[in-house]
Amino acid sequence: MIAASFRAMGTTVQVTGRLDRDIASTRELFEEVEQCCSRFRSSSELSRINGEAATSIDISPQMGDVLQVASDIRDLTHGLVDAGLGAIVSAWGYDRSFEKISGIAEPANLKAESDWSVDGRSLTRSRGTKLDLGGIAKGWACDRAVDERGALIVNAGGDVRSASRKSQVDVMDPWGHRVARINLGVGALATSSTARRRWMTPGGEAHHLIDPRTLAPSASPIVSATVMTATAVEAEAGAKAMLLHGVDGLAWASSRPWISGALAVWADGSIYATNGIEMEAA
């Protein structure tokens, strides 16, 4: 077994595979996906799309695949996880790689504009709709690495996809303590947290998880949500949606057939989980 790690998509990617070429291929894949889907690279396809004035745009097959998944995720979460809210995320200051964010003015007069659809290699969207594929692209890359590039386990900043029956994941709380060791096996797990990517605005701290219902950073009592699903892209979206559901988040996750287990760290440090999660408590 070979393990390696590298930086991609603004995070550290850890890969376990059987052969060197599995690792190399996974690394190539992440580079390709970043070049396609990064908001922070001016040369990426996504930057080109967001910069275009046209409402109907031809896109690459890879972008078409990612956007189709993003569209499915939007339906699955009833609009809570929507790639079309890039303009709102940017307005709150997250318009550059996180390391480069500094204090920004609090946005005013935000308008919820997310109107887009994808059909194969064609994207249709309203003029004000800007796409943000950050989390979805990361999860999608983890899934492709395992399904197509020979990786056994991929962990991209907390989005984990595994093809190993024996895989385990240590879930950490925002304060760096281990909460539980989850027996993941074959499947995926992701954690979404409002406690890590934060920055200052004149009105206080902001974070990257924008609630599409309020167009502001979420005020959920959940500070960290972990969800287990079949694929990393579902886990990433499920964790975000659960966090945005707030006090109802665990009940919501428990009632979704595509979520097999969920765990939430509350703002007061309490930790709760649904019954579907197999773990060893820390």
């Binding site: 850890q14 907390g158 994941v169 909460v179 890590r196 920055w199 206080g204 902001a206 408590a281």
Partner: protein, 103 residues
Amino acid sequence: MIRKRFPAIRTLRISAWTTIALAWGIAIIGRQMEAPAAEETVAPEPVSTTSTVVQAETTMPTMPEDGLIVIRYTPAPPPPPIVRQVVVSGPAPSPGVSRSQGS
């Protein structure tokens, strides 16, 4: 005959005036020291600030239909999380064990 320089009555008078002067001085100094303290007890009008991330009041989660596992219950608030930390790369994980802390 040596004239007594400080007759008793004069000594008494000096002592009395000295005591009065000291008491007066102490009273003035005391009042000046008390003044800021008195101001401090009047709480300043709080400046109205809107917090961007308003943390909801701590509540229990809604009970899922198939039950809820309470792993840890801490009614006392934990220390504030670290702000502006992007990725904590810990020690290399043992094979098969990954870490998930979210992004």
